[in-house]
């Protein structure tokens, strides 16, 4: 009995240690190898190309903008108890001090579904339905984050809930409230892919406890609407954006240093006054000096490549349907 008790106690201790090791606190106290004083370089860049063609008089305008800003971060202290770091950030030769959170729990608390995605739906009186009139994806990208990747991935699985209501629009004619869920939003899209997977469940099963890179691509073509105020009608008139492909990508190093926070947009539409407008834009925040900029570019084009491969499949499928008829 005594020996059994001892073995039981030993097993309990191991169990507690194992639980303790897995907890975020344990990770926090054991694996920070961020170096104090060592200068960490981050680079922020924007590439934008705009093309406008006015077909009525054959006038064109082409603009491009490329900006690159290096930022130098020097960590000055890491406080494991308060979960705060202090650092100095130098940009344009000017150095300023900052205090920031780094604990995963603090980070995840700020990243719930409707913080991550911002949706705006409006009633369109011409189609007598709700239309998506604004969309954005905003991941927080902290320079330094507690490297608790199981917690991050579990959180993502939890918040990406298809049945969660993301927007409510009051019907202008009936006493009805139109509830739009995350699932409704996804179902309305011509295509989407999360980490290369074209379904929400596919994405969730792909998320591992070690996943440190997440890519969200959305094709909102003809789903997202822009509007203009029509003086005669006395209200906003909505028109679809014929091409709107956007991708967002976030990546951390194993030890919790932000590696890439990138956003891309390919957009094309015809304005109500007949101008054909094309906008291509890539915003990036990467770890490293400006020389590191070209390294992570591929991730943003996951989505267009997927679309290309999806097309032959669709063609094959439709042929099959015809034969069966």
């Amino acid at each position: 009995m005594n020996q059994l008790k001892r073995i039981w106690l030993f097993l309990q201790t191991i169990g507690i240690i194992a639980i303790f090791l897995q907890s975020p606190f344990a990770t926090a106290s054991s694996s920070y190898n961020w170096e104090l004083i060592y200068p960490y370089f981050f680079t922020q860049s924007v590439e934008e190309k705009t093309h406008i063609l006015d077909t009525s008089n054959n006038l064109i305008q082409d603009s491009s903008m490329n900006t690159i800003n290096e930022l130098v971060v020097n960590l000055t202290s890491i406080d494991l108890n308060s979960g705060k770091i202090t650092y100095s950030l130098t940009t344009s030769g000017i150095t300023l001090p900052y205090i920031a959170d780094f604990l995963m729990n603090d980070y995840l608390a700020e990243n719930m579904l409707t913080n991550l995605f911002s949706f705006f739906y409006t009633w369109d009186y011409d189609q007598n339905t709700t239309v998506l009139s604004s969309f954005a994806l905003n991941f927080d990208a902290w320079y330094f984050l507690e490297p608790n990747w199981p917690a991050f991935n579990d959180h993502l699985k939890m918040i990406l809930n298809a049945s969660e209501v993301i927007y409510q629009v009051s019907d202008p004619y009936e006493p009805i409230i139109h509830n739009i869920t995350f699932g409704d939003f996804l179902a309305s899209l011509p295509a989407y892919s999360f980490n290369g997977k074209s379904t929400l469940d596919g994405f969730k099963t792909q998320l591992k406890s070690t996943t440190r890179q997440w890519t969200f691509s959305f094709d909102l073509s003809n789903v997202l609407y822009d509007s203009y105020y029509n003086l005669t009608l006395g209200r906003f008139v909505f028109f679809p954006i014929t091409k709107y492909e956007t991708s967002y990508s976030l990546e951390y190093s194993k030890d919790g240093i932000m590696q890439e926070n990138a956003y891309s947009l390919k957009m094309a539409f015809t304005s109500p006054d007949g101008k054909q407008i094309t906008i291509d834009r890539i915003d990036k925040y990467i770890f490293g000096s400006k020389e590191s900029l070209s390294a992570g570019l591929a991730i943003l084009f996951v989505f267009p490549a997927l679309l290309v491969s999806a097309l032959p499949m669709l063609l094959k499928k439709s042929k099959g349907v015809n034969r069966s008829k």
Binding site: N57, L59, I60, Q61, S63, S64, T67, E70, V72, G93
Partner: protein, 324 residues
Amino acid sequence: MKKKAFISFTALTLMLAILLSTTGVSALEVSWPIGVPYEYGYEESYYYETSYILEDGSVEMKIQDLSNQFTFYTNITAINNVTQYVDFDFMSILSQSHNSLSYSMANYLIAVPSAATFLPAFTQWDFLHNESVLAGFDITLPARFFLEPNWTIFNTHYKSLLNTSSVLHSYVNPYNSSKTEVYTLGDLLAESNSYTIMGVENDLEAAKAKLTPNNRGFSFSIDVAGILKYNYYNGTHTLYISTYKALFSSSFQFTIDGVLEHYSYSFDFGINYPKVSQIAIQNYAYTLGGIPSESSSFPSLIVVPTALATILLIVIIRKEKKKV
């Protein structure tokens, strides 16, 4: 009869004198069509690179690279031969406007009375080295979309502008109030690394000779790297820091009937301040007929970069020789 002949001769001379004089109001008939739009291409690009040397010796950099190009139309709606005003609509994707501007050559030339008006230079006293330095410079050639095609007057005037004794800037010497520090066109050309006027390199007289009555444009490029200096206060003194690159270039060309065919401006500039380095490159150009393809370009502008390349080679060769 003799008296009559004399009178008509005098009248003719007077008329000719008026016609030829820069202030003569008498206008040449213009042949621009009303209601047929002229298409132009406008291109501009800006590149700025700033490097900050940090305390630990590492370098932090900012780059801005912007370019923009668009097509636009100038569409003449009315021409007044008496007042010499042309009314035209300007139309691009971003803006539309109605303009009424003088097209008279005399009026245009009044805008360029001297070399100082198209070569704004600024000189200052460097107290550390007790000398006058070129502390600011630019090229600002005036142009118009429509200009009375009186090329004889145009060329006579531009020839008169290329006068080496023409003062670009002057100020009173800080130590001797009776002494004026004068900076002339001749001083600028003499101390520049190289200059190209009317496509002719480092030869003012040959450049002037290009201003014949058939000529319908002007071009001026100058390399003032090392001569152009910018002031920098280091906490105790005002230092004049030399640019290591300072190339300015501008040109324009009209069609025979006085429609702007091409206008361009560019500068390429680099400087290393004690803790900050800057590179700035700016270009803009208007071209009649739309945005030109990559291959077509205006020959007068190419001269300077080639010249510079040759100079650089010479400098390198000379240095190599010295080493030996």
